[in-house]
Amino acid sequence: MSISIVNVSKSYNKVNALKNISFDVKPGELFGLIGPDGAGKTTLFRILTTLLVANEGVVKVAGFDVVTDYKNIRKCVGYMPGKFSLYQDLTVEENLMFFATIFGTTIEENYDLIKEIYIQIAPFKDRRAGKLSGGMKQKLALCCALIHKPKVLFLDEPTTGVDPVSRKEFWEMLKRLQDKNITILVSTPYMDEAALCDRIALIQDGNILEVDTPKAIVKHYTKQIYNVSANNMYQLINYLKEYPFSHSVYPFGEFVHYTDTRTNFNSNELKTYLRSKDLSNLKIDKTIATIEDTFMELAK
């Protein structure tokens, strides 16, 4: 196993950030840690990167124990913290060079690993890191985390605050890195990014809700979901929640995802109910569950 986490708990001043969690990440896997802010993702990353010590449990990264063997782990992992943590007053090239030197390597030595990412920021190599755009900063941070060819790469919310195009590019890069045999653990609050991982763990309030492939996780969701839309979204949500047979109601883009408690659900019946509440332009269609639906259901 590249990463193995067994019964890990961590609390800060009486707040339980992680509650007895366990899971494994296989070598070469792109593993996603999916959960909202405050779920405990960063705490787990810090335990894995030897920055924090868990109160209970055993954690191994690349075969080394995070407490007793932390020095070996620090040599062979790459870590990109959630907050942009490079030297803003150093240029792109100086930052990369600095991280290469402290890991005892050079940019040239591992250039093929970062080449595809670096050529995108190379035109700005003399610009100070603080003056880069959000997406560029993340690409540089990824280069810096990769420059010493780590065995395991930890990316804590790498796409938070990054525009959609850069996010997409960033994930394409992660996919390519996977081919180079690097195990990647990535956390994100965006459910749409979860589908791009090999396997994901859903985390909330310090608990792991589910660990599986994105496809399998969606299959765990047994209820039929309906896309409901109307002229007044806000009223629609309120009336759906008041509907006696409603199981769950979540806004989802331009639709509301609705599930019913009954098995013999009739969409016309719901339509009539909603019409009686003065809603128009009603549309009710079947749809398939997404990871977000599963997460909401599990987090209930």
């Binding site: 920055l51 620090r74 870590y79 913290p81 943590s85 490079l86 007053d89 060079m97 600095f98 402290i102």
Partner: protein, 368 residues
């Protein structure tokens, strides 16, 4: 070694790209030494005084001439009546008034006792004190020269000689003090800020998750400041020699070694501060309040330690600056060698070792 050089290179980029820190590093020493040297001084020169001469005789005229001939006093005006004294003080320009009594010469010869009232503006007590001492000295001098043998009685005449600083130049006192302050400031405050900065912007997290060892990080952080502090010390000494004619009687080599020792002690203090503070602001506050104030107040730089209350005298012993000031004063002004300052040197070495030891112990290999 390559790692170390890379790290130090990065530190220099930080320093040279931050205008604020560059100013603190190089602008401040020069500004401070010039300020302390020229503006803040205990010497008096050209003090404006007024004279109220009620007898208007040869004797009083002679005394007035003697006073105005000295470079210390300027006779601003002659006044006629006692009621003018207060009015003239209120204007603020005149710092002292000399009031000769009526029949001054007659009293001097017949009663052997003539009176001059010296009134000084004591809103600034130090200056007032100095003025009255200077005037006294001039009067005594006059008396000694002019009195005939018939007036001489038994008297003890003290002959004072001020050794090591015969002209009592205050610059001799300020240069060691300012040098101490600046080295302390640059070394302790700048390093503690630069280390906490890494914590604050989050790069410390990445440095921790790297093969760099704690001592490599610390030495890498501190090294540029040793270098810059030495340059500062040289600038201060050169300025004080050429602008203020400050002598260096002792060996430059000893002075350099002692300065480096003090720089290392201050740097160790800076590292210690950085281990207990999480933000740059805390580090700065601790450095300013915890280091600068004691250095200025308790090191003997401005206020003599011997005249402090006992508890403060005891506290002053734990301030490295106190020992450094003793050492450099001895080396620069008395020209002594190590055999006279070995005790103070040992104390500084002990402090440096202690601070480094504690900070290495306190340096966190993790986030908490």
């Amino acid at each position: 070694m390559k790692r170390f050089i890379g790290f130090v290179k990065k530190e220099f980029y930080h320093i040279f790209r931050d205008k604020r820190s560059l100013f603190i590093l190089f602008g401040m020493p020069i500004a401070q030494i010039l300020l302390f040297g020229f503006a803040i001084t205990n010497e008096i020169n050209n003090v404006e005084i007024a004279i109220l001469d009620q007898s208007k005789e040869v004797t009083t005229q002679e005394i007035i001439h003697k006073i105005s001939a000295s470079k210390y006093f300027n006779i601003n005006q002659l006044i006629e009546k006692e009621s003018d004294i207060e009015r003239i003080f209120k204007k603020g320009k005149v710092k002292a008034v000399l009031n000769f009594e009526k029949n001054f010469s007659k009293n001097l010869i017949t009663k052997k006792n003539a009176k001059i009232q010296v009134i000084t503006d004591a809103t600034d007590p130090n200056t007032a004190n100095t003025i009255s001492n200077y005037i006294n000295a001039i009067l005594q001098n006059y008396l000694k020269e002019e009195t005939t043998s018939s007036l001489k009685a038994y008297k003890i005449e003290p002959k004072t000689r001020m050794v090591y600083n015969p002209e009592l130049k205050s610059v001799y006192m300020f240069v060691p003090g300012v040098m101490t302050i600046i080295l302390m400031l640059v070394s302790a405050m700048m390093t503690s800020i630069s280390i906490t900065k890494e914590k604050e912007i989050g790069t410390m997290e990445i440095l921790l998750v790297s093969p760099l060892k704690p001592n490599q990080v610390i030495v890498g952080k501190v090294f540029p400041y040793i270098f810059l502090s030495i340059i500062n010390a040289i600038v201060i000494i050169v300025l004080s020699i050429f602008i203020f004619k400050m002598p260096v009687y002792g060996s430059f080599f000893l002075l350099a070694i002692e300065s480096v020792l003090f720089i290392i002690t201050a740097l160790a203090l800076g590292i210690l501060i950085s281990t207990i503070s999480a933000t740059q602001q805390t580090a700065m506050m601790i450095s300013l309040m915890g280091l600068m104030l004691p250095v200025i107040l308790l090191s003997g730089f401005i206020f003599p330690i011997t005249s402090m209350p006992l508890p403060l005298q005891v506290i002053s012993n734990i301030i490295p600056a106190k020992w450094f000031i003793i050492i450099i004063k001895a080396v620069m002004l008395k020209g002594v060698g190590l055999q006279f300052v070995w005790k103070e040197t040992l104390i500084l070495i002990g402090m440096a070792v202690l601070f480094i030891g504690v900070s290495v112990k306190k340096y966190k290999i993790r986030l908490e």
